[in-house]
Symmetry: C2
Subunit: 308 residues, 2 copies
């Protein structure tokens, strides 16, 4: 049985590995680390990279926080018939969160989060997600990305990719724009154990999700980082980043939870891009590459084949 | 007794007057109008100005919408002992909303909203607010702005300025940054009638608030629009706009209400600037003009005298 301390140690080594891979891929900038403490218990190490050759702004953050169980979880548990939780219970939450905004509009934005949560009443669960936000959707890259995620899922359970792909479609969605944030990926929460999958087996799956981030994104970086782009394409990148800001500030559960619980603001808002733009009622020209990308930002697309 | 139709007519003429004043002050760009209809009843006319000589992006929006009373108001009324509201009741809401983002960082961002709300059970109220967000706080301008608002308030009731100034301090506040959005102004909601002030008297006050917008802001534009600025000051403007985006997407009640009730997105999000920026953990140099501005973004400041 993995202890929470071991899970945190594993997450720290994941943070190390990912930072090393991204620094190598960038070739110019390195991560700057800020360690911080949480008044109520625990803390983290935030690592930010800026003004790289390939990455304009990105963060790879680790945290492990603990303390009395948050009020909203007590309320939620209070509605359950088998409530074993009291206000004397404590929680422990640890995770790694990543957002990378590249320089080149031909390189996609990426996000990953893997998190572990346990309470002193014995309840524990795993959560995670990876999603890709290309400024310009390239079917070949989308197929590569989803195929990589499917391989990780299929190794552990045949239902995981379809289930968690759909969950990502629903989660990474901007209702007021009626657009997905990007081409999705996988998302799952409160994964514990089932008759088929013990907690330990799910933990292996979860670790594999974390491990797949660096090789997958580094390949997308290498493939696209030297592509030419125009001023017009840079402008479009800023508009797409505007949508990213809208999603993160209005809907992203991690961001809103952090803002509401007095988390470390600069670590939470590292997900925001260096620059973003909003134009009134802008629509790309019919038939343009931008219009083709917009048309693909819908749920329930099968990204596995290039012809999607 | 003013009818809702007359109040809407007054708001439309206010929109006309304000747009004319701003176009004149800008001298280059004019407003573009989009009329829109709301499926459930009513609609509006959004007017947007972009790429002006003085105004980079701004909106002066009028709307009048009606239909069944929204669920959240029915719930709220359900908690009241004298609830006279049922799901057969209807509402009518009309208002003008303004946000102006200037080109020059020495010119402040401004926001105004005046709104009227009534329901078929006879309940009706007025709301409004004006607040100023200078990228660089100039005490002289702050004193002029607050003195203008105080004059409007004092004309109607001696308590209104201190009460509504405090309300603005509390409303236009970014808790996660522990900063006010700017130098505040006045804010009030659900203003109906009191022993001293009939609804008609409050309506006169409310109209005066609307009327004070154009002359006050035009004076601030004229005074500051030709001031020199550096690249560094332009960068700071983008960072302050980032904070404006944070406030509007995370906290602004009008924005969140609009997003949640399927309002016209482009009209709601006209408040977002053309460009904004986020830098990780950025602090201005001690003693700089930027640091002096930050130090002034606190509640309960007396802005009426220049030496504040």
């Amino acid at each position: 049985m993995e202890t929470k301390e071991n899970i945190s140690l594993w997450l720290m080594s994941l943070q190390d590995t990912i930072c090393r891979s991204l620094e190598e891929a960038d070739g110019k900038s390195v991560f700057k680390e800020d360690r911080w403490k949480r008044e109520e218990g625990g803390g983290g190490r935030s690592r930010i990279i800026t003004e790289g050759a390939v990455i304009e702004k990105g963060g790879v953050n680790y945290s492990a926080v603990h303390g009395p169980v948050p009020a909203f979880l007590l309320r939620e548990a209070g509605h359950s018939p088998n409530n074993s939780l009291s206000d004397k219970d404590t929680f422990y939450a640890t995770g790694v969160s990543i957002v990378i905004h590249p320089q080149n509009p031909m390189v996609p934005i990426i996000h990953m989060n893997v998190r572990y949560f346990e309470m002193s009443n014995g309840v524990k669960w795993l959560g995670g997600g990876i999603d890709l936000t290309p400024h310009y959707v390239q079917d070949e890259d989308a197929a590569f990305f989803h195929t990589s995620l499917k391989a990780v899922c299929d190794k552990h359970h045949p239902d995981y990719y379809p289930k968690f792909k759909k969950w990502a479609d629903d989660y990474f969605f901007i209702p007021h724009r009626k657009e997905t944030r990007g081409i999705g990926g996988i998302f799952f929460d409160r994964l514990a154990s089932s008759p088929e999958m013990s907690f330990e087996k799910n933990l292996d799956f979860w670790k594999d999700v974390g491990n797949t981030f660096a090789p997958t994104y580094v390949q997308l970086l290498a493939k696209n980082k030297d592509l030419d782009f125009s001023e017009n394409e840079k402008q479009w990148q800023l508009l797409r980043r505007g949508r990213y800001v809208e999603f993160n500030l209005v809907y992203d559960k991690g961001t809103r939870f952090g803002l509401e619980t007095n988390g470390r603001i600069e670590s939470i808002l590292m997900s925001l891009p260096k620059t973003a733009s909003w134009l009134y009622d802008y629509s790309p020209l019919p038939g343009s590459a931008e219009a083709r990308t917009l048309a693909k930002l819908v749920k329930e697309k099968d990204w596995l084949s290039c012809s999607s």
